[in-house]
Point group: C2
Chain length 230, copies 2
């Protein structure tokens, strides 16, 4: 007897205008949050919905290389914050003059203020050495895990949860604090908490760090054409 | 006179249950599409909406390092397909026995069938040498461009457009065909077309390549704990 095919082709349901608008509302109102976190615990239902959303990201060869470490204890988050803080002092010194002054006024993390942190990792050994789709681009598994992060960020917005992505730390520090083995790649360290307020535009734009580029300048037809654009 | 702050903090609008459901419908019904593409041209309105969605991905230091090369000509897509085809023969040879047989039955791209291809790139030189948030993790700009790809994939689903991510090619081949300079990283090559039908589960699962993992096995509390899980 032939095995029953489960999950086969079916009519692709068209979304209504209202459904499309709801999707775009989530996408366009998502912000990287560093300071607006409320102290309320995130409900387990909301948390599982954002993790399930992450788990349904596309992955190369259906590898699903991600793990999610939920960091809740204040003591752990204090150690992560100290690791951030050391690295951030180094980072500030890489800028000069007015940029350095502005950099130092920016709050770039909510590690201790947000009630939950999540470290998203990528296990490059999962599903064996040869992975369908990773044969010629070795980065594809890392990119799959990043897609999981983006799904998580968007689902967070849908759930009323603000999320900030922290990238300023020495990897080895985080590895030691969270006992992450050497063969596991760290993809993202995220701070999560419910929010009442969000910036209407990216905070770095609002605070004068950098402006949104014109999309038209970023689109090329048929092949790369560098006509003074970038 | 002080410059007016534009885009400052505002009430974070709660989504209604219907809006949340619409967002999750898009997220969960998205599939990597390789063969169900219709030949209809994608409307410029739909195309601009998916590109705008990509352009609103989070990016490290608000760097927005992405570009989008729209590939429409059949001659160009034929060259890309030939590059894929050469690499795919090499890929098949990396698998053995039944896996190789199964691999060879899978259709892994829609380069010529889909009416539009988009190459998404990352310009690591954009916004200068020192980038806020990339000071300690050099991969962050690549990850930003991947977030743009995931936004593009999701927005495609919202617009009724199926998208397939092709990763099997030698980078140098694609670089030559699309005239991409050496300092630009290629992140994703995407095939886009309207679809009438979608798989209800990932095609690789439906076709017996690999199953979805249990999310519970991928979640750790407080720190990495490898208890026979993977």
């Amino acid at each position: 007897m032939q095995e029953k095919i489960v999950g086969g082709l079916a009519k692709a349901e068209d979304l209504t205008d209202e459904e499309k608008a709801a999707f775009y509302k989530v996408l366009y109102s998502r912000r990287d949050v560093r300071d607006q976190f409320l102290s309320d615990e995130i409900s387990e239902d909301s948390l599982m919905r954002v993790l399930e959303a992450a788990h349904h990201a596309p992955s190369v060869g259906f590898m699903q290389p991600w793990n999610f470490i939920l960091v809740r204890e204040q003591a752990t988050r204090q150690l992560v914050w100290e690791a951030f803080s050391r690295a951030n002092d180094e980072a500030a010194d890489m800028f000069e003059g007015e940029r350095k002054d502005l950099y130092q006024t920016l709050k770039l993390e909510g590690i201790r203020k947000a009630p939950l942190n999540i470290c998203v990792t990528c296990d490059r050994t999962r599903s064996g050495k040869i992975v369908l789709g990773r044969t010629h681009n070795r980065q594809m598994d890392l990119y799959s895990a990043v897609c999981a992060v983006e799904n998580l960020l968007l689902a967070g917005r849908a759930e009323g949860i603000g999320i900030g992505w922290v990238s300023i730390y020495h990897e080895q520090d985080l590895r030691e604090i969270l006992a992450i083995p050497d063969h596991i790649d760290i993809i993202a360290y995220l701070c999560l908490g419910y929010v009442d307020e969000l910036y209407q535009e990216p905070e770095l734009q609002v605070k004068g760090w950098r402006k949104r580029l014109d999309l038209a300048d970023l689109i090329y037809e048929e092949r790369w054409k560098d006509e003074g654009k970038s």
